[in-house]
Symmetry: D2
Subunit: 349 residues, 4 copies
């Protein structure tokens, strides 16, 4: 068993880490770190547990430690980070001296030699790790995963870009409130309402997606060569981001080819049979009225993205559109870091 | 005063007609028609009133009549129709022999010589009326308004197409449940959820919008010459459709020019000072997080469309995007028919 | 294995039956019956599956049969009924000639010699079965479970009445929309709203609760001897009924005694270790802000009722109050019938 | 015109004060006070306007001042206070030296000689003012209104207690999220959920109601002589508290007498024809499924409480129950203070 720690353990994504790591065959939580307010207390006493499932018994009595590499058990190999952005950059670098840091925070994404990875999409970016360690003289390293709405979109674009020339992508999102954290969206703001703005979300979706679908030439990442535009909105849904996607290809195509490529898409995590890897990263629904967030967010324990309403545009050439649903705090956050860690554990550690 | 009747008076759009006609300076309700189940009863006794405002006192004691031209008071000049699609086609034609029919039903929209009109967009389509009357040998005629989501979109496209060459439009909607009628969307389907499909909605949005922004050459309508794609979704909002719009122009542009053209847009209803015409058909919001359906649906008594987040695309040439909110049962339904009737009353009757 | 059938298999409670029976150690579904519209089709083709969990593979290809004893496999022993009230009375009697009918329908509840049973509360009412069979000359029999809101309340009253003299109970409910069936509550009626009326619900809660906590003297049921009043309301919650309960006892008491009696309550299903029996029928929460429907409805797979905010009244003598949450379509419907069937299978069949 | 100021002008209740004072025939806002963060700025620039109606033009350009009596225009006579509890006690006392303070804050309610008043219920408590001024040597004074849920309940109890002997009252509330302030209830806590606890709410309801329906003997308040118990819950509703009420009388009664007494209830504000006084403080609905918060919260511009489902208990003697809806931030907060000020302006100033 690999011993792991969780940074930001009391928060919403921290709780998802704990939930997903419970009964994990390869990883065992031995350290939980949080802010000074929680440090020194039992985990159960320091945490307002948000998830519908019960808090795993194994963590209730663990004593929360400070968010400091010295406070971490020395036998820990991997730390999962759901630290707030403002602290994450420095703290994760401190941890990377000695630990593998699998981070869901945005602060170190897109930094030179820090791989931003979705295991099904760009595992080759892990080649950056060697450069990262040399440059910083670290024993550990940092690997990051993208923003929640980016992950769901990119997983569905991967089987398309592998088989067709994408000219442009436009995406309009309908995002769940859990994406903003527990206190992020007041009920007064969202009951019987929609918020048409999520800070920095569109910028992240646009830049991260082109980066993930790009290539790493041993020195830097060359972005994918298509145009992309995102418009992001918050809706009264607890969990599960829905995205409406418009795609333009360079060439003629059959819609059934797109569908088959999505439905049959498998990649490295499936080959390696990683524990958290879904059998199908993308599930294609045939029903007219699917995917729906409440019905489809938990597909493959929240690790698959569901796609539906795949259809050609009647007025545009070489164009089609679809709707996707992905679980934002599982596949889009904690599950993303976990799958990164499983991949690293399998092929690097 | 012009005497008016309402067909489908007990339904949700019928109730909006009654609400909007209460205290109208030019129109007075003298007949309310509904199905046989309601006919013969007092309006108050036959109606499950859905609106937050109280039922106007003036209609409570009116006796509901059958949906039949013979049952209508002979001194009625205009009938407003919110009939179900399956009956509307024939019944509206029966009424058109003697009455002006201002219809919100979809059945007769897009039929040859039946004008589909938004007064601020294509009042010249009313020229079809003469052909319609001759062809059918009618004393009255039918004028229709578009689908709720079409109206909001088209009102914002009009000041753009008047000033720029539109190459393409993609729109993703987040539509209120009232658009489906009172029993249209079960709560089990929409609480903590989104429905990614609305029957025929995308087809209507695409065809109606190109039609409305096209031209009438005295014989037929030539569609506007740009490409259009719609993806339609239902969200847990009572009233107010939100739409996320991506626009591509042929040429370079300044975003402030787009904004100014929208904000300063005025048209015939404003010139004629029609009673239900909003001062500004399009209101441009500067706040980062607007428009929102609960906050903006009632702008100008529900007759203005609010636009916000007007911004250039970073990766696309000559492209921008914005979010709009319009009240689907006022500007998008009853208010649309009413403004059509006010225009006709002013320039034709 | 006991072969079982489901009547009303395509409906919401029918789907819960199928979900709960999937992988059951003692029961195996061999017949699914529904209306003529569905009969003859594959189950998957005839059903709009409502539950978040996927439809079990075992039923997808089963051919739905008519709701008729002759259409049922002859090797079926038990049929679960979630038939609409208007058909249930007669149809269940037809089935009872040859089958054990475990019914969630209200039509035959409270009929003479038809036991209305919660296994933890009044298993002795099963003594009625002998009289029922003799009277009707049936080989099978009918056993019913109470209304969803009654079950949750009564489970919490049982450990109280076993240990104290209850003088009066007043209960105000906040009930989930699933209790009305899939199309029961339009979204227009409940978004940003509460409905203060549920047809016949208060009458059922009052009469059924006094009946269940009463005694069967071999001839008729003597109601429990306390006063009871219910006020029932619908709230925008998908699953899980919340009830606010005010209790008056005859005598002085310690609140911790009430708490201990609830928390330690075990009964026959726990002794017999029935498969669907929760370890604790009543779970007492200490947190200030629990129970909550979204957090607690799935306790013990939806079979436990969660109680919280147990506190004395400051102005009333011998009085206390609490809040409960129970899953209305599991413990309150399909799970209730299933536990009845498990009890019967264990002690009668 | 009486010049008035608003303390806490940028908050949710502060905004309701501004909305209700717009176009008021007797009061004119001349000062808006808020925290240091807002002081010195234009009101429009310092305020995130929460209400669906637009911000009144008259206040947009007003410069917000510090919450300090010296910062207030000297020609102000009345200040409305919606200060946070933690500051209200001292600050309101500072203002009371020179101003009439009509407060919605809870801090000074129930203090000796500070009247807690609902104009329709206990206007005679204003006699305390003379004692208050003498004791403190103030030129101004403080008058307070009760908690939102208390006001709605007490308004419906007043016509009962005036005509019958109340033995006991039990009330279970379903309260809107606006009652907790804009950021009070996270959407994560309330979408598809109910919160069964509101801090100090039950204590306030119980003590304030007995106080308001009691008598002032020139020295202290003698509580009303009946028993009262409240259980308070938060529901996913924006505005409008719903309460389920169980009443026990000492004697036999006719339910129609209760109904008539409620429906015909008029009191001092109606006699004096105060501007904000509703024609009927209590509106009795006959429809089976009313009152509902979304439909009835705005009755009489939010100043009436709507009552429905008035019915006898079948098992209890001398008992009945009903459901009420009142607008929590209008009749339950800003409108309550305003009506107090109108009463004072009419009979004292």
């Amino acid at each position: 068993m690999v011993n792991v720690g969780v940074l930001g353990a009391t928060g919403m994504v921290g709780q998802r880490f704990i939930q997903l790591l419970d009964n994990h065959p390869d990883f065992e939580i031995t350290s939980l770190a949080a802010s000074s307010r929680s440090a020194g207390k039992r985990y159960e006493d320091s945490t307002n547990w948000y998830l519908d499932d019960e808090m795993p018994k194994s963590v209730k009595d663990m004593i929360v430690v400070e968010t400091d590499p010295k406070a971490m058990d020395s036998d820990v190999d991997i730390v999962f980070s759901s630290l707030p952005s403002e602290f994450a950059e420095k703290v994760e670098r401190d941890f990377a001296k000695d630990f593998v840091v699998a981070s869901n925070a945005s602060a170190n994404r897109m930094k030179k030699n820090i791989p931003l990875v979705i295991p099904e999409v760009n595992p080759q970016f892990l080649d950056m790790i060697e450069f990262q360690q040399k440059e910083n003289n670290w024993d550990g390293f940092i690997v990051t995963n993208p923003n929640c709405s980016t992950i769901a979109l990119t997983l569905t674009l991967k089987p398309i870009i592998d088989n067709f020339n994408i000219k442009s992508v436009r995406v309009s999102t309908m995002q769940a409130v859990s994406g903003a954290g527990y206190n992020g969206v007041p009920s007064m703001a969202i009951v019987d309402n929609i918020l048409p703005y999520i800070g920095e979300e569109e910028e992240k979706m646009e830049s991260e997606t082109l980066h993930l679908l790009g290539s790493f030439d041993g020195n830097e990442v060359i972005n994918a060569d298509f145009k992309l535009s995102a418009s992001c909105h918050r809706v009264p849904v607890i969990d599960g981001h829905t995205e409406s996607v418009f795609i333009e290809l360079d060439d003629e195509f059959e819609i059934d080819d797109v569908k088959d490529n999505m439905a049959n898409f498998k990649a490295l995590p499936q080959e390696l049979n990683l524990f958290s890897a879904p059998e199908n990263p993308v599930i294609v629904k045939d029903e007219m009225d699917r995917p729906q967030p409440r019905m489809d967010r938990n597909a493959s324990n929240g690790m698959s993205v569901s796609v539906g309403r795949l259809r050609k545009d009647q007025y545009f050439d070489n164009s089609f559109k679809y709707v996707l649903v992905g679980h934002n705090t599982i596949r889009g956050a904690a599950g993303a870091s976990l799958l990164n860690a499983e991949l690293i554990n399998d092929i690097i550690l």
